[in-house]
């Protein structure tokens, strides 16, 4: 039995992120953002004990939730590219814009040469998306982020990957987009659809916050945490409540 009545939206999001890593095997969990980081650690503590976790800097940690974490490896930035080129990685990145095929933008908004808003830059998104499984985390599901067309394609979406004329993109693999309202996944045509709604969220609410048509939900409601998962989140992984600052309410 799950204590659903007491579960916060942030905790639902942690569960959805954790489930994104289910079955990924012995790969590096690359998580951008507070909720995905907690989710990866929860996955490692529950259904995916082989996952490899980092401190977000240069070390691989067996138990990053401990006060004195054990270092099980050294992964400076220069070696991250060797890991991702080898495909031993599964990312959950952020997105400033994302379209219906999962094309993602973190580079700039508006004109390429003189943008309305210069963002952080493409970072590793182009390389991640053509080398290993990539998911996205959107803490505020809105029509500002889910747009008809992104201003710059950083992370490569399914339309471009499938139209690619040669086999060089055979490692392209987009999984899910977890938001504060729902979990989205891709249909057979590579278009985003609602996989599950978070408890208390309506289809209309998600569609109103999305700038393109969205089918679903195809799988009902996002599952609640188990008692053990809730205990791990609250007592072990995030006793300070950082998740609530990323997803209020």
């Amino acid at each position: 039995m799950s204590p659903t009545g007491t579960v916060t939206r942030a905790e639902t999001c942690v569960i959805a992120c954790s489930d994104a890593w289910r079955g990924s095997g012995e790969v590096l969990a690359h998580a951008v953002g507070t909720v995905p980081t907690i989710g990866a650690r929860l996955a490692r503590l529950t259904h995916s004990p082989d996952l490899v976790l980092t401190d977000g800097e240069a070390f691989l940690l067996s138990d990053p939730w401990s006060e004195q974490p054990t270092r099980e490896g050294w992964l400076p930035f220069s070696r991250v590219f060797d890991v991702l080129n080898a495909g031993r990685r599964h990312s959950m990145m952020g997105a400033s814009q994302i379209d219906r095929y999962g094309n993602q933008n973190i580079s700039r908004i508006g004109d390429w040469d003189r943008p309305k808003r210069q963002l952080i830059g493409a970072r590793g998104a182009p390389g991640n998306t053509v080398n290993h499984r990539t998911d996205y985390w959107v803490a505020r599901h809105s029509t500002r982020i889910f747009v008809e067309a992104v201003d710059v394609v950083c992370g490569v979406g399914y339309d471009r990957a499938r139209a690619h004329p040669d086999p060089s993109l055979r490692f392209h693999d987009l999984g899910v987009v977890v938001t504060d309202l729902a979990v989205l996944s891709y249909d057979a045509e590579g278009r985003l659809e609602i996989r599950t709604l978070h408890p208390g969220v309506s289809v209309d609410e998600v569609r109103a916050a999305t700038g393109f048509p969205l089918a679903g939900p195809v799988d009902g409601i996002t599952r609640p945490p188990t008692d053990e998962e809730l205990r791990l989140i609250r007592e072990v992984l995030d006793p300070g409540g950082a998740r609530d600052r990323e997803v209020p309410g």
Partner: protein, 291 residues
Amino acid sequence: MDKTLHLADLGNHLEDGMTIGIGGWGSRRKPMALVRALLRTDVKDLTVVSFGGPDVGLLCAAGKVRRVVYGFVSLDSIALDPHFRAAREQHGLPVTEYDEGMFVAALRAGASRLSFLPTRAGLASDVLAMNPELRTVASPYDDDVYVAVPGLRLDLALLHLNRADTAGNAQYLGPDPYFDDLLAAAADRCVLSVEKIVPTAELTATAPPQTLLLSRMFVDAVVEAPNGAHFTSCVPDYPRDEVFQKHYVDAAANADSWRAFTGTFLSGDEADYQEAVRSLHAARVPAEVPA
């Protein structure tokens, strides 16, 4: 050979229009004393190649930059650098923005004196469209087609490490070498600053030899610049100065506050800068004593 250089003489290594690679990563172990010394010269029209942080921001704010080549520009604990944003949004500063893996490939090619290296990164993304000079290359062995990232050579690399000897054998003591060795190898000349210059034998007296990141073969000048990465981190010597970094970002809010910032911190020499930083913290101590 003794390669010791005084910070004030950095200008001897600079020319207008140079391509300069800057070490560190984001707001971590940046050669900030060298950047500040560069700001005191008349040099201009620089192409700056960087895993970008406040080095890029300060050079943009001072109008020293013709083009930035980068995979990202970030202050880490603060996502975006305000001066880089302003240079892009208000003045359309030209950039070459790559995927990070492409950026590394460009430097690896440059360091190996190759005209290009192939990467999968960049395929099907707008990085190719935004940089129309980029070409792809068909594999001679199978049906794959890769991005042919052109080799990037640097006229000069500016780096900051923890320790070095006077010959330029240099050591990092923190968790990550970043790409400083690659930048040095891709550069025709390399000016290095360190927290402390020590006798060669002292480098490995207490640290393993694997911390010796740079050989003197790749270093032309060594500057002793204590606190020379400030306000970025230089672990284990010191962490990032988050108070100062926020002050830097807040000061960029308008022309008046930025003028005040440059007047206080960037109008004198490096000793004046470090003194002004100490004063800033001294003024804050009553409210900021850690528990």
